[in-house]
């Protein structure tokens, strides 16, 4: 017996579910496989998402995956200068703090409702190829190992992304474009007037070439995590040292206790050159769709997944072959939505990592008095240019 589908999606994260949903809606015979035994669990995420992504991707709001809605972002410099930004303009991670396990399941349910099959505890262990073209995946499901043929394989397998590499696509990154992350979910956090109404971002040497986030989950619980660029990590467990030092210093966390611990890798690289080949497309973290400044990738993954699913449907409808050419509308489609921002933010990130604590203090103080509303690289640079010509040299080529 050979199993055969139009589309096999590897990985049931938000990007995979979104691709599976829109492919199935358009009539593709779709299967989504997930290697974990439970979709969405364990959570590997800070869980922040900007509200607009839900509308953009047609995900109906459900209370069960909302932990906390926030008013905006608080950006805190090393000396404690604070910049508050309304959630509408605060980047792709601020608005809703999710229950990511429930959110991922909700996304998978939408895919199922659209007609996609879903298997868990099923790992892709290799790609089937015929004369350079991807023709399916080899999977291990419980004790069985077998082949599944597919007209198109979707690599939505997250940061660890092996499927795309098996097809020969280049997803390797330089140390400076890789961020190691560690997060504690802490409870028994002491009250503070702004808590839990803001997602907080701490800049400076508390997290070299990265930042520390405090995303509230309820009135006494938060995801407290950090990301640090790999080229700044010198020793084993440096991440833990930095995060522990932060928690020790923050008076609110004096009596805080652990609910969980999360680790992971985040890409902060420029957009990659190629995300489709004959019979295969990459999406989400696998395609490095993460924003290089915020490290946010849930929304971008949902969006790119939707674009891909729709393109797969169109190919099915006109009886195409899912060749590299057929898949170009996806390559062009996600680039039209995301590429410019990803590239710009990668450039800006490369500048931000050169700033000192004093620079951050000055910039945050300036931005907060200037009443900047929108956390866009462009808006920030404009203010810095007006008020701090001394700092502008570092950003000259971006203005």
């Amino acid at each position: 017996m050979t199993l055969k589908y139009d589309v096999v999606v590897v990985g049931a994260g938000p990007a995979g579910s979104s691709a599976a949903r829109y492919a199935a809606l358009g009539g593709c015979n779709t299967l989504m496989i997930e290697k974990r035994q439970e979709i969405g669990s364990p959570v590997r995420c800070g869980e922040g998402i900007a509200r607009h992504f839900l509308d953009d991707c047609g995900i109906p709001y459900e209370n069960k995956w909302v932990a906390q809605e926030v008013k905006g972002a608080k950006i805190i410099s090393p000396a404690g200068n604070v910049l508050k930004i309304d959630e509408k303009h605060a980047g792709n991670e601020v608005g809703i703090v999710l229950e990511r396990d429930a959110f991922d399941k909700a996304c998978a349910k939408l895919a199922a409702k659209a007609g996609s099959e879903i298997w868990v505890k099923t790992t892709a262990v290799g790609l089937l190829k015929d004369d350079g073209r991807v023709t399916g995946v080899r999977v291990k499901r419980l004790e069985e190992e077998f082949n599944i043929e597919a007209d198109c394989v979707v690599a939505a397998d997250g940061y660890e992304s092996q499927v795309g590499r098996w097809a020969g696509m280049k997803t390797l990154m330089k140390a400076g474009d890789i961020t190691g992350t560690l997060q504690y979910r802490l409870t028994n956090i002491e009250p503070d007037p702004d808590f839990p109404h803001y997602c907080e971002f701490f800049l400076g040497t508390c997290a070299p070439a990265g930042y520390i986030w405090v995303f509230p989950k309820d009135e006494c619980t938060a995801n407290v995590g950090l990301g640090i660029s790999l080229d700044r990590l010198k020793n084993k467990m440096d991440l833990k040292m930095y995060l522990d030092a932060f928690c020790k210093k923050d008076p609110r966390m004096k009596r805080a206790q652990f609910l969980d611990m999360v680790t992971g890798g985040v890409s902060t690289c420029p957009p990659i050159k190629e995300t489709v080949r004959d019979g295969i497309a990459m999406v989400g973290d696998a395609a490095r769709h993460i924003d290089p400044i915020t490290g946010g990738g849930i929304g971008n993954g949902c969006l790119a997944g939707m674009i891909l699913g729709k393109v797969l449907s169109e190919i099915k409808e006109r009886g195409g072959t899912y060749s590299k050419e057929d898949l170009q509308p996806y390559e062009k489609g996600w680039r039209a939505e995301l590429e410019e921002t990803l590239y710009r933010n990668w450039m800006a990130k490369n500048k931000l990592v050169t700033l000192s604590d004093e620079d951050f203090d000055k910039i945050i103080a300036t931005l907060s008095t200037a009443g900047i509303e929108k956390l866009s690289v462009h808006a920030m640079l404009k203010v810095i240019k007006e008020r701090h010509p001394d700092l502008v040299a570092k950003f000259a080529d971006m203005i």
């Binding site: 660890e160 140390a175 833990k240």
Partner: protein
């Protein structure tokens, strides 16, 4: 009275190139996506290295909990 450690299940495996501490690993895949030679395979709860590893050490540094080390650098190997 001195306490005696009766049994210790070995939790560090190595293939001569790299060592993984199974009790520390969170199976997050950060090392897998980082490895420049694709030498790490993670089957959700079981991580292995293959001979493509160049011992570059990127995985050692990116691992947030310090679960990876060189076989001889590992604290438990040193105990032997």
């Amino acid at each position: 009275m001195p306490t005696e450690l009766v049994s210790l299940r070995p939790n560090v495996r190595d293939n001569g190139l790299m060592a993984i501490d199974d009790m520390l690993c969170m199976h997050c895949g950060a090392c897998v996506g980082t490895c420049p030679t694709n030498a790490i395979f993670l089957n959700e709860v079981y991580l292995t290295f293959n001979e493509d590893c160049t011992q570059c050490g990127m995985c050692v540094k990116v691992c947030p909990v310090g679960a990876i080390d060189y076989p001889h650098g590992h604290k438990l190997t040193q105990l032997k």
